[in-house]
């Protein structure tokens, strides 16, 4: 067996995680090197995919349906690229954000484990492997959530743990049904399956499990607390990347299993709408900056599901692209936003929105970064978020689903409203006594979030190549 890029992508972080755990003193170095190396591997893989359309590697030489096959196509590679790219920048941001030695020691192994899990999800082709990977992700993510060690974080982490494991177990139950019915678990098998009661049950269980893990309204109850109470880099990873793994599986599943029913699609869209509205209202009420950002994640996930449901059942062949664009956009922008929020909290000393304008120190660059990320989250041009929203609305209008358009517009207005609360806090000065240092609080640590934020804006101008890239090899049957 030769060591190819795909195997590297999967195992580099795993070995990195182990090494970082064993050698805590050099954990930081190991972590960074590993993440960079993973990025390199993803890059190599991307070149292959560009050449071949889709690449399949049977792991350990075992062929499907029994063995573990890894498969990379445009969409999975886009997810991988986002994960490793955002991960690299978050890692850089973490260098500054994690001051505590203990935090640093645990952060790197957990994060590398998380990376392993996510890479595994994006490369996996059979649903049991996906189950294992989402469990790995869940454990690592819970570890990251409680990294700060505060009581709130522990409570939130525990809640997250329950939800996450329950979601995974629902998925596992679904896997059991599938095996019972089909005798195989790979995507290709699913693709050829005839609809049946067992498959329907499996689908129901798996879907709900995934929805619970992605925190789609009303299953979002664990998310805001978990994301708001974690340390900044952890929040960035959790919000930007982790929920995307379950979303990715959701997209794949709905593509490979018998087409979801029209009513089901509508139900998912309706839940998305609920998320947009309820999340927006809660974000308006949020008192702390990170909580607001966390609620905005709920909103965005709702939006992604609306994108999925934008044109009903028949539109699903195209709708996944809009959803994928929104996933990418949100991943990059939300990571930037959480890192920036963390920077602001570090500099100002708190993140209570109402009192931001009393601060005498204004970390301008971090605030600017926050604003840039907000542009993408709100969906203003030319950001990637805008392109995603455009695709969503375009599809919905073309199919005559005007209610999705209306919901999207309301969501946009809501997001403007809650983010403008924050901006007002940044830009108001009359409540401060004494001069305000405009350029105070700049640090090298701002570079990582700023880069992410700029990427989230400028990627919008590259939407066409991204779109054609994620279509590469998406059809499973076409590949060798």
């Amino acid at each position: 067996m030769t060591i190819d890029a795909m195997t590297l992508t999967l195992f580099l972080p795993l070995f990195g995680a182990m090494a970082a755990f064993v050698f805590p003193r050099v954990a930081t170095g190991i972590g960074l090197v590993t993440v960079v190396a993973t990025c390199g591997a993803v890059w190599l893989l991307a070149l292959e995919v560009l050449k071949a359309g889709a690449v399949v590697t049977p792991l350990g030489g075992w062929e499907a349906p029994l063995g573990i096959a890894l498969r990379a196509d445009g969409l999975s590679l886009a997810m991988l690229a986002m994960t490793s790219g955002v991960g690299l920048l978050v890692s850089l941001g973490a260098l500054d954000a994690l001051r505590d030695l203990r935090q640093r020691q645990y952060f790197w192994p957990l994060w590398l484990l998380l990376l392993t899990g996510m890479n595994g999800v994006y490369l996996g082709t059979d649903i049991f492997n996906l189950y294992v990977m989402i469990e790995v992700i869940a454990l690592a993510a819970v570890g990251l959530t409680v990294l700060s060690g505060t009581k709130e974080a522990l409570r939130a982490g525990l809640e997250y743990m329950y939800a996450s494991i329950l979601g995974a177990l629902l998925f596992l139950m679904g896997v059991g049904f599938v095996y019972l019915h089909l005798g195989r678990l790979d995507f290709a098998g699913l693709l050829e399956a005839e609809p049946s009661g067992a498959l329907s049950a499996a689908l129901a269980l798996m879907l709900v499990g995934l929805l619970l893990k992605t925190a789609l309204f009303p299953l979002h109850f664990w998310l805001p607390a978990a994301h708001a109470n974690a340390t900044a880099p952890a929040s960035a990873l959790l919000s930007g990347l982790v929920v995307k793994a379950a979303l990715y599986i959701f997209l794949r599943l709905t593509t490979y299993v018998p087409l979801p029913d029209e009513i089901l699609v509508a139900l998912i869209g309706a839940l998305g709408a609920g998320a947009v509205l309820w999340g927006g209202v809660q974000a308006l009420r949020a008192e702390r900056l990170k909580l607001l950002v966390a609620w905005s994640t709920v909103v965005q996930i709702g939006l992604i599901f609306i994108a999925f449901a934008r044109a009903g059942q028949v539109g699903l062949t195209e709708s996944w692209k809009a959803a994928a664009l929104l996933i990418l956009a949100h991943g990059v922008a939300k990571a930037a936003m959480f890192l920036a929020a963390g920077r602001i909290k570090d500099e100002v000393g708190h993140d209570i929105i109402r009192d931001l304008d009393r601060a005498e120190v204004r970390p301008t660059l971090a605030q600017f970064t926050f604003a840039l990320a907000a542009i993408s989250i709100i969906g203003l041009p030319p950001s990637l978020g805008f392109i995603g929203k455009w695709s969503l609305m375009e599809g919905a209008m073309a199919a005559g689903y005007w209610h999705w358009v209306a919901i999207t517009m309301i969501g946009t207005l809501l997001s403007v409203a809650y983010f403008s609360r924050v901006f007002a806090g940044f830009l108001r000065f009359d409540r401060v006594r004494g001069p305000v240092g405009e350029h105070q609080g700049w640090a090298l640590a701002d570079v990582a979030p700023l880069t992410l934020a700029i990427a989230s804006i400028s990627l919008g101008l590259m939407a066409a190549p991204i779109l054609s890239f994620i279509e590469l090899g998406y059809a499973l049957g076409v590949t060798p």
Partner: protein, 495 residues
């Protein structure tokens, strides 16, 4: 170097790239900041001049790359774009000088100039956008970049104004997004093409086309301060004077008016719009705005608010000229785009000088300011008289064409409207001039802190006032705005 296909992009980038540099400069590096500001502004004017020369030579610029399948980011430099680009480039240079002087002792200068340049980039982008999609991008960018300027002072009042501003403009932007999407779905393209792209659609699906018209024009109407979407403009006057001057008198409202032009002429096509029966309601709306704005202006005591309402009124001249569907009126509308910009920027800068030099912010405090600041007030006077429409000042020329256009379109009421509006203009401007020149200032009112204003504050309004004189006085000269306008109208009406 004879042909540079990316010239429009460079013009856009000059101010776009200057902005991060300006952000990053420390607050104390005033000299460096000033040099960068002025340098970039001057380079931009030079590039625009070059572009103008090239375009008049018949060179066609078309910079594009694909964003989504079939949907391009597209910059073009057609004569209409050039009209607006040159206006913003030249006024940017002048306003930069003014802002440097104005903010000499102010705070947050790095931020101010950073966003200021971003605004100009957005304006230039709006001007050169080759399709509605690109237009939308820059239109939103303009909103975002102006918001920090509106709330620059950072007070509670400024923030309130900023919030209202944001709500209006972003809601407008959202509706524009909706309209753009609708257009994209219905027509399959969003390109600006003289003569319009919707003739077929309008013939087949009249109602769709009509709704599209309402949505699109309504959306840009927010920035153009069309009644009843005008409320943000007077409120946004809490911004510092250069912002009010360049942005609210020129960039933002003009972006709206310019958008109306693009949409009516190059998305629908004037004939189609007329056939849809949409031009008459638009003209009526513009007429209401003209009268309403003037009436509101009369009751304002705050100088900047009065000017703001006057802007509401005056910008609708442009809309009116477009909506009359007569080439002559179109000449008036386009010329007014330039003329109104020059006049209003002069007045706002003069108002800023009054506030800076004398602490005068209200009309009732203006007694005798003419003697205290003769240069500034001369400039103000020239602009005010031009607004009223006295020849040979700029405002007269556009009003003349609008009136002729109204007669040409068979709408005699337009003449009456223009008369009424001029009368109202006179009612709110002449008392200001009267107080400034013919009343003696009392010690308590006009001379609390008579600080000298530097040349950087004094020169810009005088310069623009001279331009007001020049564009009116030499309206018939080659390369004058009016001449260029006629050229543009010939294209739009495909004569």
């Amino acid at each position: 170097m004879t042909d540079m296909p990316l010239l429009p992009l460079f013009i856009l980038l000059t101010s776009l790239l200057a902005s991060p540099i300006l952000f990053a400069l420390p607050e104390r590096a005033a000299n460096l900041r000033t040099s960068i500001n002025l340098g970039v502004a001057a380079i931009k004017v030079a590039l625009v001049a070059w572009l103008g020369w090239k375009v008049s030579q018949g060179v066609v610029y078309d910079v594009r790359f694909t964003v989504l399948p079939g949907l391009d980011f597209k910059l073009q430099a057609d004569p209409l774009a050039l009209l607006f680009v040159s206006l913003s480039a030249i006024l940017w240079l002048i306003t930069t000088v003014y802002s440097v002087g104005y903010l000499e002792s102010g705070s947050h200068r790095a931020r101010f100039f950073g966003f200021f340049s971003l605004c100009v980039a957005a304006t230039v982008g709006v001007a050169m956008a080759g399709n509605l999609f690109t237009f939308l991008i820059f239109y939103e960018l303009l909103t975002l970049a102006t918001y920090p300027l509106v709330i620059h002072r950072g007070s509670a009042e400024a923030l309130r104004a900023g919030r209202i501003y944001l709500i209006y403009t972003l809601a407008g932007g959202l509706v524009l997004l909706l309209g753009t999407l609708g257009l994209w779905i219905v027509a399959g393209t969003t390109d600006f093409v003289p003569g319009g792209i919707l003739a077929d659609v309008a013939a087949e699906q009249r109602l769709v086309a009509q709704m599209l018209f309402v949505v699109l024009v309504g959306a840009v109407g927010v920035k153009a301060a069309l009644f009843p979407f005008h409320a943000w403009l007077p409120i946004a006057m809490v911004a510092p004077a250069p912002v009010s001057a360049l942005l609210h008198a020129v960039a933002v409202v003009k972006a709206g008016a310019f958008g109306i032009m693009r949409i009516v002429y190059e998305i629908f096509g004037i004939e189609t719009a007329q056939a849809l029966g949409m031009t008459a309601p638009l003209a009526a709306l513009a007429a209401i705005t003209i009268i309403f704005g003037s009436l509101k202006a009369i009751t304002q005591d705050d100088i900047k608010k009065r000017l703001a309402y006057s802007t509401v009124s005056q910008v609708s001249y442009i809309t009116l000229g477009v909506a009359l569907a007569s080439p002559i009126a179109a000449v008036g509308a386009l010329a007014h785009l330039i003329h109104q910009g020059l006049m209003k920027i002069t007045m706002f800068m003069a108002a800023g000088n009054l506030a800076e030099g004398l602490g005068v912010k209200k009309v009732s405090q203006m007694n005798g300011v003419g003697r205290a600041m003769p240069g500034t007030m001369l400039a103000f006077t020239a602009a005010a008289l031009a607004m009223i429409g006295l020849p040979p000042l700029a405002g007269f020329v556009s009003k003349w064409y609008l009136a002729q256009g109204g007669l040409d379109a068979g709408a005699v009421w337009v003449v009456a409207l223009l008369l009424g509006s001029s009368l109202l203009n006179a009612i709110y401007f002449l008392p200001m001039l009267y107080r400034a020149w013919f009343r003696d200032g009392t010690e308590t009112e006009a001379a609390p802190a008579r600080q000298r204003i530097g040349w950087m504050l004094a020169a810009p309004p005088i310069t623009t006032a001279l331009m007001v004189l020049a564009v009116g006085g030499f309206a018939n000269a080659p390369f004058s705005p009016l001449e260029w306008t006629r050229f543009v109208v010939a294209i739009e009406y495909q004569e």
